[in-house]
Symmetry: C2
Subunit: 312 residues, 2 copies
Amino acid sequence: MTAPVYNRVALIGLGLIAGSMAHAMRAAGLAGEIVGHARSPETRAIARELFCDRVTETAAEAVQGADLVVLCVPVGAMEAVAEEIGPHLAPGATITDVGSVKQAVIEAVQPHLPAGVHFIPGHPLAGTEYSGPRSGFATLFQNRWWLLTPLEGADPQATARLRRLLEGMGANVDEMEAKRHDLVLAVVSHTPHLIAYTMVGVADHLRRVTQEEVIKYSASGFRDFTRIAASDATMWRDVFLTNKDAVLDILGRFTEELFTLQRAIRMGDGEHLHAYFTRTRAIRRGIIEAGQDTSAPNFGRVAGGGEGSAGE
Amino acid sequence: MTAPVYNRVALIGLGLIAGSMAHAMRAAGLAGEIVGHARSPETRAIARELFCDRVTETAAEAVQGADLVVLCVPVGAMEAVAEEIGPHLAPGATITDVGSVKQAVIEAVQPHLPAGVHFIPGHPLAGTEYSGPRSGFATLFQNRWWLLTPLEGADPQATARLRRLLEGMGANVDEMEAKRHDLVLAVVSHTPHLIAYTMVGVADHLRRVTQEEVIKYSASGFRDFTRIAASDATMWRDVFLTNKDAVLDILGRFTEELFTLQRAIRMGDGEHLHAYFTRTRAIRRGIIEAGQDTSAPNFGRVAGGGEGSAGE
């Protein structure tokens, strides 16, 4: 095994992403020591047992002497953490984060960092519908994108070193501007999640259709929405509050589009519907060809367990 | 192996559902002979090769002497087929269908049937995002619901016999009123599909975010939408045109709900968002407990292939 990429990595916030990073770094020998901090003593104890060499009671303590600091807290908690750890960061250390929104994190974190520290914001496009310190696993980032949004004038060597770590965990790394990141993610992730939450909420409220029936017959579309809508509530609240402009923009486009289809249904315009539904198939083919999903029917769900879905 | 449930089964329309039925009936010895008809000669040839004992050039020919006729054509094609086969149905035969909408199918088919024929409308809650005569497989209905909506005064023995066939293919059979079926399906399937189509359409139109980026970074929510939106265009056009009232009702509720969340985002009302997102998790738990989906992260997608999704 080659030398570790970083001698001491500090993980602040110990949920799904931090846990998976720790497991992956350990498996590939990428970090000399992994130090962790979370506010909850219970979470710290689990992390100590499962994937941290050491846990600390404060974030300030965790970052001392670390050459890489990773902020794995919800976006809304980034500023408080940055303020706390700022004075304790080692000179020359790299600091990154895993937040789903980038402009807001930069605004929250940057002002609290001392000179001589390399801040390279990041976002792994990986996760599951589970959260917490027990939910992580070493292969979470395998073949997934990890987007970096380095600031103007960032040190190329610091960025290259961080890339080595991320690629060592199996991720494909891409760089883009923070603003563009936030818009792309509003399309491919944030707005779809909001819509899924909404549809599940509608079903929940429907008194004429009892919850039991909705759950019983949830195959076919709705079930996939509920999975999307089962993700961490705090994380998603923060995403929508901090990527407000892009999400409201995409939501506006979505509503326009939905009203057009709704009108076609009301008017009985079958041609419009058929043409629309035909066009959307092409995007799906592109995703499968890009290796971003399995082409197996129903995501390859195990037969007899949870198959049966679209197309019905 | 016990005696077949029906001596001759006629399948009209030879796509995913008919093909899967034929494979399943053959595997369990449920039908003496399986006769098929589709309009396209190419489809007929494939069906003859893969799962039909015999194919015919007309639907009228296919139903002659059949004690079970299954209409597997899109909902919008049901009336023409019923009109054609009506005079050729054997006395005492059972006729069912697999359409995703039930009231409209009953209105389209019922008037064309002679007395002495048992019409028992049905709908298997099973499918994949694929269609056509090559897409079927014997286990499609395993552990899936098959809803029957018998008309008033239906013959209980004819219904019981059809149930035996469906259960023999692995399905769980439930009976409900056609009107209720259409409303429940509008919630759990039709409206979610329309929303998925819409979101994919929005992404497709976005000029600022190139298609390449949308596809490249499609993990996290959007990818699942594209799968839902990849289903058969003709089938879905007919669903929305024929279940118009229920879909428009649910769409109205969805839009109200979405506007409330949109307003919370605009106003920065984090409490509202958090409470909403917390409530929707409970429905997901219910679905897993009801055995309608796998609890494995990301539907158990194979690691390294297409994992990574919600929660990020």
